[in-house]
Point group: C2
Chain length 426, copies 2
Amino acid sequence: MKTICYPEREEWGRLIRRNTLDTEALRETARTVLEQVRTEGDKAVLELEEKFDKVQLSALRVTEEEFEEAEQRISPALKEAIRTAYQNIRTFHAAQQFEGKKIVTTPGVCCWQKAVAIQKVGLYIPGGTAPLFSTVLMLATPARIAGCREVILCSPPNREGKIHPAILFAARTAGVDAVFKAGGVQAIGAMAYGTESVPKVYKIFGPGNQYVTAAKQQVSLRDVAIDMPAGPSEVCVLADETARPAFVAADLLSQAEHGVDSQAILITTSATLLQQTAEEVQRQLERLPRRELAERSLENSKLILVKDMETALEMTNEYAPEHLIIETADYLDIAGRVVNAGSVFLGHYSPESAGDYASGTNHTLPTNGYAKAYSGVSLDSFIRKITFQEITREGIRSLGPTIQEMAANECLDAHKNAVTVRLADL
Amino acid sequence: MKTICYPEREEWGRLIRRNTLDTEALRETARTVLEQVRTEGDKAVLELEEKFDKVQLSALRVTEEEFEEAEQRISPALKEAIRTAYQNIRTFHAAQQFEGKKIVTTPGVCCWQKAVAIQKVGLYIPGGTAPLFSTVLMLATPARIAGCREVILCSPPNREGKIHPAILFAARTAGVDAVFKAGGVQAIGAMAYGTESVPKVYKIFGPGNQYVTAAKQQVSLRDVAIDMPAGPSEVCVLADETARPAFVAADLLSQAEHGVDSQAILITTSATLLQQTAEEVQRQLERLPRRELAERSLENSKLILVKDMETALEMTNEYAPEHLIIETADYLDIAGRVVNAGSVFLGHYSPESAGDYASGTNHTLPTNGYAKAYSGVSLDSFIRKITFQEITREGIRSLGPTIQEMAANECLDAHKNAVTVRLADL
């Protein structure tokens, strides 16, 4: 980790710069695979699974027997944890239901918004060493609360042709309709275009490697919506002298273990805390199984000392972190002045891992500075707000001339005429 | 217009297909111009304005004198219409303010969302024959209500180096901070990257031709968020025997005059209405100044007769129109079953042009079937919902074991450790 003391403002840009992910180079690969899936359907997905996941599948859809087998294979303790997390995620997202109000903007002119679920959504869950069953809960739970008619999930199988049992158990718990054995670009293609087995969806959610990211970007240009642009995970810890070095170090390391491109930044007003945190990181690092990975990732990470909390806050707003942990005395006051962040963790007993798993908030969040313009996934991500308007004779009589004047000045006479024919009828 | 009677379900896909806009071909042009703006800033924008808009500008930013001149050049009637529309748009969007509730998901675990405005937004307003001052109101009004700190606007100047006075007046009315003379791809580049004159923004809104669309897509892959993918405008009218042919015809024509690629579809249960509407379209067409354009656009348009309202509703949900006008006896009942549409107009006195200009709803809406996954622009488009959580000692004590169990099973030991160090401290 690099330590930086009292940086000048001109240096900020460099300090908080991300390693940008260039998906341009992967564009051609993604395009070729997507096109193959679009034209050949299941046949292409089966071939690509054999090529990339080294598995010969007889069918893509996970069977009822496989779900039952999965349920038997995971421990009661994990089942209980998944159910607890599911309940909290459910509670928090259910409270986000939108109730539109009818607004009379002018007598006789009534306008309102109504939340309607996206009818078909697809969730992608990567494979690899760590089975991301928590992400299944984070995506499927709000989809079901929103009222999506069809919720499907794709995840790559292992070489035995099986999806990790915890992923299947979480999918069942959160109410996913169907799970398909497909990974990478072929999974994104299958959900974007539909195949014989996999239904076409209208929006695709979920993390993935850079190929998956490139494929999601590609299909989002024409065929389907996506949750948000993805990048490596990141955390920023704002801390003062009241913070515990052991907690801060653990929070930085929990980000660092995600991958070599993860970024963890500490911004503090306390030189003592900075020093002690650096020592704690070394101490805790030695006990971590993923030590090598975390060590490499820490090379991207920084401990920054600033002169006051005002400066710290400005810097974090400029950084716009995916996760922001505020471990200070007056954390609520500081939280009120955060304008750019994905999810904020307040006080000394709110580690990021609470939000990653079980407190109820969503862990699918904007990275790479996108928090300046994007929200994380929430119930909103699974609905559209459709607007409605009902205008009476009285309404068109009073509003009509305004519409006619504006339409005429935009040279749109047929727009004007749609009012004129109605006024003539009153 | 083509008339189709009682189509089989297999034909629906073909009937409701759009002319897709392929921006792939424009990608290289857009990329070259964007790169020039990114590296050369104002100098590039000035050169490109000379090249594409045939104007030599001394400065990009519109001056106070130009705003005053604009105000004098437009009629009192238009000023009043713009102010009335602004008030209605303001009323409807102000009612969309989000108030997050604090939710205790588990004793000691409190989570909430807070709406925070996107700090810097950029609006693009195309030039051309029709000055889209209504779009200025539709974008700047919610931006200001949301609390965006900086709201800028780019629009191409005419050959005298001026922006249309109605655009400047609308910008002033709705509270835009600064207006810049820049059009097309160079305007998108200037707002995405920033130049000496034009500030970089975090999200770009607004319509444009296919080059602007290609440029917005390009910058959205890495640099900045955009409102939504754009396509040609479209309307679907659902009507029964109670509908007035003159109203329906006027509604179809008001869509058709937008451009040759616009699409207007009537789906009706009444053969008589269909016939009379076809005749009315011809009658009204003859009186339209934009007759030629509307005539060409009507070639994409269809009058479809179906056997019952249930079928009509299914077809419109499959089409997912940007604008849906329901001119039937029981329009509220039908409206309750619409699942895919951008904005819905109810009854015989709610023409689309009301929502285009002045009723208060937004006219920036998803086209091209995107209504299946996207909402139109609303106050939500200018905010992010940041999540916060505050966990007490009691909270982490009860939730901690769940987090530890899940983290361990995802092989993320540092995540588990962030809880372990805290539990050890209790």
